[in-house]
Amino acid sequence: MCLAVPAEVISIEDDTAVCRVDRGQTTVKASLMLLPEKPELGEFLIIHAGFALRILDREEAEKSLRSMNLAVEGV
């Protein structure tokens, strides 16, 4: 029940963002009421039950991937 999906902001109107889900042309609306800051177009949100919970942090994501690769280096 804590399912949340990442989605890319493609437009914002008032407190609602229209976001693209996955690479195809499927969009979903998400309320921004719970977000501390307004997202930029092109940013990724994590959406749960119609609400954006967080903006996805690209740098942290890259850091994580790097550390994952590091962890198995030489294996």
Partner: protein, 364 residues
């Protein structure tokens, strides 16, 4: 950023390497438990579970909000659904959850109850407006991930002057439940995969007691295969070193302090209360209740609903399963008579329950 980039967290090649590393590093059984039903499903659905080394013992904790919704709470919403004035609004997850005498919401609808499945609690605003003569009651079930969305909906309802929306508040919070679980002597878990999306709201601090008080490791983790494998590898390393840590591996979504705005909204509307967890019992302070300032939305007050404990289910081994003492298929009721269509205990109730996931995904 791009979706292609996010897909790297599922890279089969890297997964394989992670698994190989795990196999190589494991010296003895590692018993890990995830505390989030979404992790349970992710581990099974991706096939990860079938790839884990034999020495990795996968256990599922009290991580599905639907499963831990107490029998009395279920009966309460089923009673309310039968009320002619009421249109129940609910997440689809609750439709099949059984109450006493085999009742559930699907059967209630067949009996004439008006039950509306919503994707977002926000949808209840429209529902209330479209049915001004009826009372729309939303069943508030879920952890910290979900509770803020209900709080925000209540704020919006007040702002829009909607008078016919009520919340039947059965929300629960995760950290105190974990504490209760860990305080059981019988518990046999080496490390925890912590719920990533709950943490997106509450941050990582509320889990620090796990290492401090119980000397166990716990990792806030995302839901992709690599997220999980990476966390397991870390736990293996820490155990080797005799260490216990609480760390955040899901930094792309989870900040140390979580989402403070969401937490604020949540506690503006709700306050902590003692809560009954199905299969576990009373955990002080582990539930949420609507504050007096918001009581115009409180379905419990409106209908005088109180939740009482009741006798545990006969024969159901959920207690042992939640604690990692038994696996689902070790329960004599598993598969017969206990199935998702006809669940006996909480772990079979929701698709995210551990017994249900076993039943649905596991190959013999």
């Amino acid at each position: 950023m791009s979706f292609e980039f996010l897909e790297k967290f599922r890279d089969p090649e890297l997964c394989r390497k992670m698994l190989d590393r795990m196999e190589a590093e494991l010296e003895s059984d590692l018993r890990f438990m995830e505390v989030c039903g979404t992790h349970t499903v992710a581990i099974f659905q991706s096939g990860l579970r079938s790839l884990l080394p034999k020495k990795i013992v996968h256990l599922s904790g009290p991580g599905c909000p639907v499963c831990v919704t107490h029998e009395s709470e279920v009966n309460a919403f089923l009673d309310l659904a039968a009320n002619e004035r009421v249109i129940m609004a609910t997440f689809g997850d609750l439709m099949r959850v059984p109450g006493d005498n085999g009742r559930n919401l699907k059967k209630a609808v067949a009996d004439g109850a008006r039950v509306k499945v919503v994707y977002s609690p926000f949808d209840t605003l429209k529902l209330a407006k479209e049915n001004p003569d009826d009372l729309v009651v939303f069943i508030g079930v879920g952890f910290e991930t979900t509770a803020p969305t209900i709080a925000a909906t209540m704020k919006m309802a007040r702002q829009q002057g909607i008078k016919n929306l009520r919340i039947l508040c059965f929300h629960k919070t995760v950290p105190l439940a974990l504490d209760a679980l860990l305080s059981d002597e019988a518990i046999n878990v080496d490390g925890f995969i912590l719920p990533g999306h709950v943490s997106a709201i509450i941050g990582t601090k509320p889990y620090e007691f796990i290492a401090e008080k119980y000397n166990k490791s716990a990792v806030v983790t995302g839901f992709e295969p690599l997220d999980i494998l990476q966390s397991l590898n870390q736990m293996i390393d820490w155990r080797k070193k005799g260490e216990a840590h609480v760390v955040n591996n899901y930094t792309r979504i989870v900040g140390e302090n979580g989402n403070t705005k969401a937490v604020e909204i949540m506690y503006e509307v709700f306050e902590p209360i003692d809560a009954l967890w199905r299969g576990i019992g009373l955990i002080p302070g582990s539930g949420l209740e609507i504050r007096a300032e918001w009581e115009e939305f409180d379905a419990k007050k409106e209908f005088g609903i109180t939740i009482e404990d009741c006798a545990p289910l006969k024969g159901c081994k959920c207690g042992d399963i939640l604690k990692g003492i038994k696996q689902p298929d070790e329960c004599p009721l598993f598969g017969k008579p206990c199935t998702p269509a006809n669940p006996v205990g909480p772990c079979m109730v929701s698709t995210e329950g551990s017994c249900a996931a076993y039943y649905k995904y596991k190959l013999d």
